[in-house]
């Protein structure tokens, strides 16, 4: 697990939630997990492929998503599955957008895939056992969970060691 790849996601999530919800947030329960991810509410899974590869899962209860939606809209929003999906997607896009901006500006090149939303009773498809950083961010709307697994596929071009030559 490379913390320099994980840290931008943690920083971005904390900043995005605090800014979007206009209130202080707190990171709690930071831990490593090697087991298949067990979803807690409605989850958005975003895959990243390129110089760095991995995935980020953003997970929150439907009632938390509804409170976030009402805050973003500036008025109470009637509860529906569509609203919950849209809210989780928008939060995931903001967190990923802000974090990949930092990584991209550091010289990493990669593709970010659109969020996959998981709402059904089944677990998250395609999340095999992998070492991940798991954290919970406490916000005024409720708890939001992040599960981040990221590794290098290639070093940044300027960091690649020259190929040794044989005499």
């Amino acid at each position: 697990m490379r913390m320099e790849l994980i840290q931008p996601f943690i920083n971005a999530a904390d900043a995005v939630f605090a800014e979007a919800l206009q209130a202080p947030t707190k990171i709690v329960d930071l831990s490593m997990d090697e087991n298949t991810y067990r979803r807690k509410g409605v989850a958005a899974l975003i895959a990243i492929k390129g110089d760095i590869e991995g995935r980020v899962i953003l997970d929150l209860a439907p009632e938390v998503a509804m409170r976030v939606a009402s805050h973003l809209a500036g008025a109470m929003v009637p509860e529906s599955e569509q609203v919950v999906r849209e809210t989780v997607c928008e939060l995931a896009n903001m967190v990923i957008g802000n974090s990949v901006t930092l990584l991209n500006d550091q010289g990493f090149r990669f593709k970010v895939f659109p969020p996959e939303i998981h709402m059904s009773e089944q677990g998250l498809a395609g999340t095999v056992d992998t070492e991940a950083m798991v954290l919970c961010i406490k916000t005024p709307c409720g708890e939001i969970y992040l599960n981040i697994a990221m590794h290098y596929l290639h070093r940044r071009r300027h960091e690649q060691a020259p190929v040794p030559t044989l005499d």
Binding site: E19, E86, M94, N98, T101, D105
Partner: protein, 150 residues
């Protein structure tokens, strides 16, 4: 809630905005800010193609344009709108603030860039600058808006 002096057109009428984003909540959030700035929503669109049609229909004073959208992305929509309407004033609003993204949008004719989540006070200063209300308000460099370029 923060108070802002109303941004008005030179004829003292409210500034009319076209809000383009595939997320309903992102649009509602921007509309909330537009109302705080004393503006009026001329139209909304959820993708680049609809944005072009809505621009032609409503002729807004300002377009707030997301980048990543289905059907047609924001940067291509900017290029097409500016090709037809050189006077168009478009501000990009996106979570993704890569320098190359910002530069591409500016090269296609966007006037400025702001990163999500949007801070009302940052958007307000950018709008003042783009509307020509205060040439010093947001300054020339995009860095003041996106806080990314150094």
């Amino acid at each position: 809630m923060q108070q802002f002096r109303a941004l008005l057109r030179k004829d003292q009428k409210p500034v009319r905005y076209l809000v383009v984003d595939d997320s309903v909540f992102a649009r509602k959030n921007l509309i909330k800010m537009i109302e705080q700035f004393g503006g009026e929503v001329a139209g909304e669109a959820g993708d680049g193609l609809t944005a072009i049609a809505e621009y032609n229909r409503t002729k807004p004073d300002i377009v707030l344009m997301d980048i990543t959208m289905p059907q047609m992305e924001g940067i291509e929509a900017v290029e097409r709108i500016v090709r037809q309407h050189a006077e168009a004033r478009i501000v990009m609003v996106s979570s993704v603030g890569y320098q190359e993204n910002i530069l591409a949008a500016l090269q296609k004719g966007a006037k400025h860039f702001v990163q999500k989540p949007v801070k009302p006070e940052v958007l307000y200063e950018i709008l003042r600058y783009v509307l020509g209300d205060d040439p010093n308000a947001a300054g020339a460099p995009v860095a003041l808006a996106g806080e990314r370029l150094s």
